[in-house]
Structure formats: structure tokens, C-alpha cells
């Protein structure tokens, strides 16, 4: 399957799990966003040799994975984008930082090894945290949360529009690529000569599409501002959820 189709599948898949009837999915999106950012910040803030501290933060993903009944495997798949980059940067640490700091079973472990492992754990946890957010919250709800955080309406609207048309353009691009590869069976990618026309066509089509969308908006009374209806209130359980995690994060970071 091509990258385009993969991306499409991924979007559909993520959407499906975000739509499930799960208690976690019904927690207010802003609360989940705040907890996610907070978790990542706390995790990353551990010093680079504090492997024990960072490891402890795993409590959050474990609890949410299990109680949210989310598939651990699809979260693992998402590591493939970011983990290589993190590893590439981390893998040099053992070479440069050779100060021994502890002994496990007679083998000296250097500070570099510890800092490399810490970095990797940080990377894995932060990817999991984002996964847990998007697997329980749809993009629209996240956009709603952004609106509550006073992110300008222009940006939010524009994210929503992009999200709406991503699947459409991915399909379009996928069709074009299929039509191309059927007539150029022995090529892996797009040949130099058609770079411009292939993407250019798609660009012009997209602009035409956008103009039509604009016309359709105009005809329905658009005056430069997207109307949003207030939806979703904070309930007691949202606040409790937030409070509980804050306390746990605080304990994990400071107390133990």
C-alpha cells in the first residue's frame, strides 16, 4: 500500500477509535489536552540522567491504556516516525559521556548510556501521550478546546477546513499516483519531468475547490466569521479527573 493510502487508513482508524462510546472519550477535550501537555512537560523536565524518575511517569500511559481499552499495538506503530530521530541523536551519548555512574551485575554503566535510555523513554512516553489524546478526542473537539484557550478563530477554522479536506485530497492524490504508476510501472516515485505538472494540477484543483467552497459559504450568509455553537460543559468528573492526575504527576515528580 502506498504512503497516501496508509495515511488515509490512519485517519479513518484514528477517527473510529475517537468516536467510541468510552468514558474517557466523554471527558472534556480541554481537560485532556491540558493533562497531555502537562504530562509531556513533566516527563521531559526530568534531568537527563534521571532514568528512574522518567520511568515512573509510565503510570499515566499504563492507566489510560488499560482503562481506556486502547490498543497498545497501534500506539507502538506510531513510534516509527519519531523514535529513529530520537535514537539517532541519543545514540551518540554513550560515546561522548563515558563517566561510569553505576554497576549492574559487575558491568559498569556509563552516564552516556543512562542519558540515552532516559532520552528514549522520554520520546516513547511523549508519543504515547499524544496517542492517548488523539485516540480519545476527535480533531474537532481539540479545535474546540483550542478555541476555549483563545487561539484565534482564523487558525482554528483553518485547521478544521484542512482536516475536512485532507481525506479528499489524499484520495485525489492517490488516484493521480495510481493513474501515473499504471502508465509508468517500473518507477518507484514520480519522474523528474512530471513533478511540476502532477503536483501543479493538484494545486490548481485544490484552489478551484477552495473557491467553490468559498462561494458556497458566501451563499449561506458567510460574513468573514465562522459561527460556533457553545457545546460541552465542564462537569464535576472532568475536574476530578484533572485534579487526580495533577496530584499524581506532582507526586511522581517531586515526592518519590
Amino acid at each position: 500500500m502506498s504512503k497516501l493510502d496508509n495515511a488515509l487508513c490512519e485517519i479513518y482508524h484514528m477517527d473510529e477509535i475517537a468516536e467510541r462510546e468510552q468514558w474517557l472519550n466523554h471527558i472534556h477535550s480541554l481537560i485532556k489536552l491540558v493533562i497531555t501537555v502537562c504530562f509531556i512537560t513533566v516527563t521531559v523536565s526530568f534531568s537527563k540522567y534521571d532514568l528512574a524518575g522518567v520511568l515512573r511517569m509510565g503510570v499515566y500511559p499504563i492507566v489510560v491504556f488499560i482503562f481506556g481499552e486502547l490498543s497498545f499495538r497501534s500506539a507502538l506503530k506510531r513510534l516509527k516516525v519519531i523514535l529513529p530521530v530520537v535514537c539517532l541523536i541519543g545514540v551518540f551519548n554513550p560515546f561522548f559521556d563515558r563517566q561510569p555512574i553505576m554497576e549492574i551485575g559487575g558491568i559498569m554503566v556509563t552516564a552516556g548510556v543512562v542519558s540515552m535510555l532516559t532520552l528514549m523513554v522520554k520520546g516513547i512516553y511523549s508519543v504515547f501521550a499524544s496517542y492517548l489524546l488523539i485516540a480519545t478526542t476527535s480533531i474537532e473537539k481539540i479545535c474546540y478546546a483550542l478555541r476555549l484557550l483563545h487561539v484565534p478563530a482564523v487558525i482554528v477554522t483553518q485547521i478544521l477546513l484542512a482536516y475536512r479536506y485532507i481525506s479528499l485530497l489524499l484520495e485525489e492524490a492517490s488516484r493521480m499516483m495510481q493513474a501515473y504508476s499504471l502508465r509508468a510501472p517500473n518507477q518507484k516515485g514520480v519522474h523528474f519531468k512530471v513533478w511540476g505538472s502532477l503536483v501543479g494540477q493538484l494545486l490548481l484543483k485544490s484552489i478551484d475547490r477552495a473557491n467553490e467552497v468559498y462561494e458556497s459559504m458566501l451563499l449561506r450568509g458567510y460574513q468573514g466569521e465562522f459561527p460556533y455553537a457553545a457545546k460541552g460543559f465542564f462537569r464535576v468528573r472532568d475536574c476530578v479527573y484533572l485534579g487526580v492526575w495533577f496530584v499524581i504527576f506532582f507526586c511522581l515528580r517531586v515526592m518519590i
Binding site: 479513518y12 477517527d15 480533531i139 474537532e140 478544521l160 477546513l161 482536516y163 475536512r164 479536506y165 481525506s167 479528499l168 475547490r209 467553490e212 467552497v213 462561494e215 458556497s216 459559504m217 458566501l218 451563499l219 449561506r220 450568509g221 458567510y222 460574513q223 459561527p227 455553537a229
Partner: protein, 246 residues
């Protein structure tokens, strides 16, 4: 109330100065009519519809919706009365969920939220897609999208509905549903299409366009059964009238 809802008088329009695409178009459309606008590809059907809603401007002649001229100053007024269904439902449905898309127009007109909800519910009922209320648009089928895009303009409660090729890319079942829905809608409808079978099933009056001019304006059955006339202007008899070949 004025029974004449749309009037066009001597309308000429061109994208490029040298070759006018519409020449001297004159017709009137009354309340509750259903008019089929037929003609070969590129004859100016869509252009004509776009002129009525003011998406194309700079025409000669006069276009009035319920007596109000379609000019820039009046757009807010005329556009409230008229609904335009795009050929491509994906352009019409730009919000992520059906409900939000249907609520777009009433919210823009600053209606209170309970009223918005009432209208959305009603519009969904009118096209029989109540079950799709909270569905994401990109997950819907072509037929569902088409019906939803008609519902988006029904929430404005328009007096006139313009449809550009509504039956394109629909399977037979969805097409039948569409025809059924169209026949139930009360406002004046103008349908531009070359699906003549659908026109025959929905429209009592037909306007035949060719080369930017109105060739014939009259009873639907009469025009659609005139083989010579249709073939002279790049069309064919509706399939149901062609008979089964021996």
C-alpha cells in the same frame, strides 16, 4: 405576494468580452414551479444559475428575485431567499459534521440556537437523513452527501432552490431517492441537468438552452419527447421514451 419569483430580462453575459456565453435570456419563473434547464455541455446552464445567485456578476439586462434586482447591494437580501446546490457536494459541505454544516447558514443569520436546532431537524426530515445527524461528512457516501447538501440550503427556508446537476454520480437507488425528495419539496426549483429522465420525473416545465440562447420554453413532456429538437441541440430522448430496441 408576488407570484413571480424569478424574472430575467434580456440577460447577456460573457466571461471574455468577445464571446458571450449567454445571449438575451428572458424568462419568468413562478412560485412552486419546477423547471428543468437542459442543454448540452458548456451551453451555459451553470452560468445561468450562478447569475441568479450573484456568483457571476457584471451581466447586461436585469435579473430580479421577488422583484429585488440581483446586484451587489442586494446580495444579503436575495441570497437569503435563494438556495444553490453545487454540483460537487464536497464543496458544499465544508464543516466536519452534518449537523454543523446544516447549522452554518442559520447561525450566520444569527438565529437563536433552539431555532437553529429546529431548522436542522426539519431539514434532515425533509430529505430523510435524520440518522446522519452526527456523522462525519468525509465518511458518507456520494448519495448521502448529495441529500445532505440539499438539506444545508433547506435550513435557510429558501423560496427558490437551484440545483446544478443533482443526479450526477449517483447510483440508481440514490437517484430515485433524490427524485422522490425533490418532488416533495415545495419551493420553486430550477434544475440544470442533462439527465433527461430525471427532468422528466421532476419537472413540469423545461427550458432548452443551446448556444447561449433559449431555444424552447414549455411543457416538459412535450419538449422531452421531441426527438428532432433534442438531437439538433446535442441531446437525446430520455431513455424511458426511447423504447426497447428490437
Amino acid at each position: 405576494m408576488n407570484p413571480i419569483q424569478i424574472s430575467m430580462e434580456h440577460v447577456t453575459y460573457s466571461y471574455e468580452k468577445s464571446c458571450p456565453i449567454l445571449k438575451d435570456i428572458t424568462f419568468k419563473a413562478n412560485k412552486h414551479e419546477c423547471i428543468g434547464l437542459i442543454g448540452a455541455n458548456g451551453v451555459g446552464k451553470s452560468t445561468l444559475l450562478k447569475l441568479m445567485v450573484g456568483l457571476n456578476t457584471g451581466y447586461e439586462g436585469q435579473i430580479c428575485i421577488e422583484g429585488i434586482p440581483v446586484v451587489k447591494e442586494n446580495f444579503p437580501k436575495t441570497r437569503e431567499k435563494i438556495g444553490y446546490v453545487f454540483q460537487d457536494a464536497d464543496s458544499q459541505l465544508f464543516m466536519s459534521r452534518v449537523y454543523d454544516d446544516l447549522a452554518f447558514a442559520p447561525r450566520n443569520y444569527k438565529l437563536p440556537e433552539p431555532e437553529v436546532e429546529k431548522r436542522v431537524r426539519k431539514a434532515l426530515e425533509m430529505v430523510h437523513i435524520e440518522h446522519l445527524k452526527d456523522k462525519q461528512i468525509y465518511k458518507m457516501s456520494g448519495g448521502e452527501k448529495k441529500l445532505a447538501s440539499i438539506a444545508t440550503i433547506l435550513t435557510m427556508m429558501p423560496d427558490v432552490i437551484l440545483l446544478d446537476e443533482p443526479s450526477i454520480a449517483l447510483d440508481p437507488k440514490n437517484r430515485r431517492t433524490l427524485i422522490h425528495v425533490l418532488n416533495q419539496l415545495n419551493p420553486l426549483k430550477i434544475i440544470a441537468s442533462h439527465d433527461l429522465d430525471m427532468i422528466l420525473d421532476t419537472c413540469s416545465r423545461v427550458i432548452l438552452l443551446s448556444d447561449g440562447k433559449i431555444i424552447r420554453d414549455g411543457d416538459g413532456k412535450e419538449i422531452l419527447s421531441d426527438r428532432e429538437l433534442l438531437e439538433a441541440h446535442g441531446l437525446e430522448l430520455p431513455l424511458c421514451m426511447q423504447g426497447i430496441p428490437d
